[in-house]
């Protein structure tokens, strides 16, 4: 299998390099766009306008911000645990890049269709928690460490309903390949059959990406900035990029699993896929500016006593109905 993979890589070397450049460009553009969109959405929800000075509708604002970040000095605090401190922002990018290998943007626009595709994304997403832990531990800062501890607890709690909410869809589609799951939704989106699973997945994914109302790992009013308190300049920007790309990835998985992915009338598939994904991204932003942060006990109780039992019931009912 490894030889097959290597053959594929060498025979399609040009395509591979193009794909990688495409992914990197997409990651950066997506993050720039989302920071702008976040400020605009926040502005309009609070009856302000948001950024408007730099470029039309303030569209060039994120580029100005990015240049400012690039120009900043990269400080390394004296007492940090060096290997962990340096490795964390690099490692947080691994799951982000791996996820793009299997996401089907269009019927033919996918780096490679692995038959255990969704498992690749879910398996590698755990690395982001490990790198948050590395950052928190390596920073030798109490706020960072508390942020990392919260992140770990939150991740244990919300990983379970997330997986349990995706399982009914995998059972319905009879496949782990993202492309096949999309193909099975021709005519009827799985959100119609599995509305509960969709809601559970969406809530759990908001928690997994550390977004408000579940942003306790980086709660700025309590923890300064949580696990990335001690990071500056480009290292901080890497955390930032990874966070915004993760928002896109969870939305893209939701669109693929529940909203028919790239399927839709008239418009080309990629337009539908991006429309659905960015609509969900908008909903995540909408949540952020609508709800206050939950308390930590509420957060854990909600997962263990609410979401997980519900997800199990949903899974058992789906399994039962499929076998009748």
């Amino acid at each position: 299998m490894v030889n097959e993979l290597l053959n594929m890589a060498s025979s399609d070397a040009g395509k591979m390099v193009l794909g990688l450049i495409g992914v990197l460009v997409f990651v950066v553009v997506n993050a720039l766009l989302l920071t702008w969109a976040e400020r605009k959405v926040a502005g309009h929800m609070q009856r302000r306008i948001g950024p408007k000075e730099v470029g039309p509708f303030g569209l060039i604002q994120p580029i100005a911000d990015a240049i400012k970040l690039l120009g900043k000095e990269i400080l390394t605090p004296a007492k940090v645990d060096k290997p962990l401190y340096y490795l964390a922002p690099v490692l947080i990018f691994v799951p982000v890049l791996v996820s793009f290998i299997v996401i089907p943007f269009d019927a033919s626009l996918q780096v490679t269709d692995i038959n255990v595709g969704i498992l690749v994304i879910l398996a590698f997403s755990s690395i982001s928690v490990l790198s948050i832990l590395m950052a928190g531990w390596g920073s030798e800062n109490k706020y960072s460490l508390i942020g990392a501890v919260r992140s770990v607890a939150q991740n244990i709690a919300y990983e379970i309903p997330l997986l349990l909410a995706l399982l009914p869809v995998i059972m319905l589609a009879n496949s782990l390949s993202l492309k096949e799951i999309v193909e099975k939704q021709e005519g009827l989106w799985f959100v119609v059959i599995q509305p509960l699973a969709f809601i559970i997945y969406f809530i759990a994914s908001v928690a997994e990406t550390n977004r408000t109302p579940f942003d306790l790992p980086e709660a700025e009013s309590e923890l300064v900035a949580g696990y990335h308190t001690e990071y500056s300049g480009m290292r901080f920007a890497l955390f930032f990029l990874a966070e915004y790309t993760n928002i896109f990835i969870v939305s893209a998985i939701a669109a693929t699993f529940f909203l028919g992915g790239y399927q839709g009338p008239l418009l080309p598939g990629i337009v539908w896929f991006l429309l659905k994904s960015y609509f969900l991204v908008f909903v995540i932003m909408w949540l952020r500016w609508t709800y206050p942060r939950v308390r930590f006990d509420q957060l854990l109780n909600f997962a263990w006593k609410g979401l997980i039992p519900l997800a199990f019931v949903n899974l058992i009912i789906t399994g039962g109905l499929l076998k009748i």
């Binding site: 038959n115 255990v116 498992l119 398996a123 832990l133 782990l176």
Partner: protein, 168 residues
């Protein structure tokens, strides 16, 4: 050597380095990250054995769940400098050494005695289907026993949480 073999050597080296870090590191958190590296190496070996599903499960369960739980346990444990002295007595060290030596000898016997024949069977394309079939067909009893074990441990954990010392 082909590139595939070079990568294989890299995977093995990473696995060994990870296990060594897990065993030898004085810091618990480094030991945990060593374990994570070793688990990734194991997943790499599964890829070489044409079992991508097992490889992903290895990462999902051992890196995503077990290691995170270990991290959680480290977070809940007391700081290292408050380590009680009775943890490392001579008797305990001797017992640990004896167990390690006996298991090393047993492993060596197995490794030296094995003939390492490559399987003639063709690798499966869709491994998940075949795995599911085997679990609910030929291996039903062990499969159910494992689930029983998990139920017992869950009940045990709940009992510990409910009736921890001093509280009723």
């Amino acid at each position: 050597m082909t590139p595939g073999e070079w990568i294989f050597i890299g995977v093995i080296t990473a696995t060994m380095a990870g296990t060594l870090a897990a065993v030898l590191s004085g810091s618990l958190i480094y030991a945990m990250f060593g374990l994570v590296t070793a688990m990734f190496g194991m997943a790499g070996i599964y890829i070489y054995l044409n079992a991508p599903f097992l490889a992903m499960m290895q990462i999902l369960i051992y890196v995503g769940a077990i290691s995170i739980l270990i991290a959680f346990a480290i977070m809940l444990a007391g700081p290292m400098y408050r380590r009680p002295k009775e943890w490392t007595t001579l008797a305990k060290f001797a017992a640990a050494l004896a167990v390690a030596l006996v298991s090393l000898l047993l492993l060596l016997k197995v490794v030296i005695g094995a003939t390492h024949n490559a399987s003639e069977a063709k690798p499966l394309v869709v491994t998940t289907q075949e795995l599911g079939r085997i679990f609910l067909d030929r291996l039903t009893l062990p499969f159910e026993l494992v689930s029983l074990l998990i139920v017992v441990s869950i009940i045990g954990a709940i009992m510990l949480a409910l009736f921890s010392k001093g509280e009723k």
